[in-house]
Symmetry: C2
Subunit: 213 residues, 2 copies
């Protein structure tokens, strides 16, 4: 009964990249690929690809390789992309608006259902057919519509209480764009996008490359 598991985050974070490359191959009409061919394209070792995939099962065929379409579908299942997710955006400032205008998330089953803000100037505004609502209405909305994911694009000071509320209302995931580390019950999954960290890392890389000459 006891499923051996606990796959490392390092592996998981490589899956979207495999998924992307396989999608591109699919578009090009390539129907089979070996781990070594893929490794060359992706600049990783063939060994790593096989190890990564074999965490989830044997998707290939000895002597042949991997069927691109099949592997692509399997990875999408592993990542949970065969599901649909209902999302809301909390904080409709610049970044929130930008994400609201993205339509590519919907292709993968991430459906935007609501927009919320405290700012009266924004409330009532419409983005891609959705009206920005007062954040006071969020509790009822989340509960009634069974929202899965909240995109947090609000000022860092306001994030903590909002996240805690959302957690208590049964949200499953938070996509957090604020420079705050959230400590929440483990019923809620948090994925952080720390843009400032990323930019600082770029600064380091630039500095470091100069020093190497």
């Amino acid at each position: 009964m006891a499923e051996e598991r606990k796959i490392s985050m390092a592996v998981i974070r490589r899956l979207p990249r495999y998924y992307r490359y396989l999608g591109e191959l699919l578009e090009k009409g390539v129907d089979k690929i070996s781990s070594s061919q893929l490794s060359e394209r992706m600049n990783v070792t063939a060994s790593q690809i096989r190890q990564d995939l074999n965490n989830f099962g044997g998707f290939g065929q000895q002597g042949y390789g991997y069927n691109v379409d099949y592997l692509h579908k399997e990875i999408s299942k592993i990542l949970g992309l065969d599901q649909n997710y209902k999302m809301i955006i909390v904080g409709v400032g610049n970044l929130g608006q930008a994400l609201a205008n993205y339509n590519s998330f919907e292709k993968r089953g991430f459906k935007l259902e609501g927009l919320f803000d405290v700012n009266p100037r924004l409330i009532g505004m419409s983005i891609r057919g959705l009206e920005v609502q007062d954040i006071d209405k969020m509790e009822i909305f989340v509960k009634e519509n069974n929202i899965d994911i909240a995109i947090l694009t609000l000022p860092r000071i306001r994030v903590k209480p909002v996240a805690e509320n959302l957690a208590s209302w049964g949200i499953k995931g938070l996509w957090n764009f604020s420079a705050v580390d959230l400590k929440l019950p483990e019923t809620v999954q948090v994925e952080n996008v720390h843009l400032s960290h990323s930019l600082m890392t770029l600064a380091y890389k630039i500095k470091d490359s100069k020093e190497e000459q």
Copy 2:
């Protein structure tokens, strides 16, 4: 002479987080902290903090701990935040506009100097005092103004040639928001922000947490 180096990216990517926590402590007026106090706040081991810092030198004092202000400044130097960086945004769609409106980057020395797009409807538009310019004018602009960093927020198909041009014009870093892996001469440093990857990872975490119950 031979400086022993090559610090792993794992270490580097933790530095901005240390930097952030130290900044918060500074705001609170805390002037000293031990690795174990910091480790508790940050949810990492004290040992890791000391190891990480000692890659760059001894910033603490036995029996005392670390001076918050000093350590904060030192980390900022390590990351290269004591420098100024001139940036441009290439692709002034939703995300490009959102980033253009961010003012917090400037506080750390990242100065936005120009905006570029191909879309005639966007050209001439003004964001925070900067006019969107035709991408044709980018070469001269980058060279004349010694631009350090280009923020790439353009459609994935257009990224590759633009990145290659920028590289040849002497840009030092690319902050790439498109789902493309760039292969460029090592004079150019690339930092990717793959939002779609991040969202897929969140989907996995949600799926995985459900399965665990």
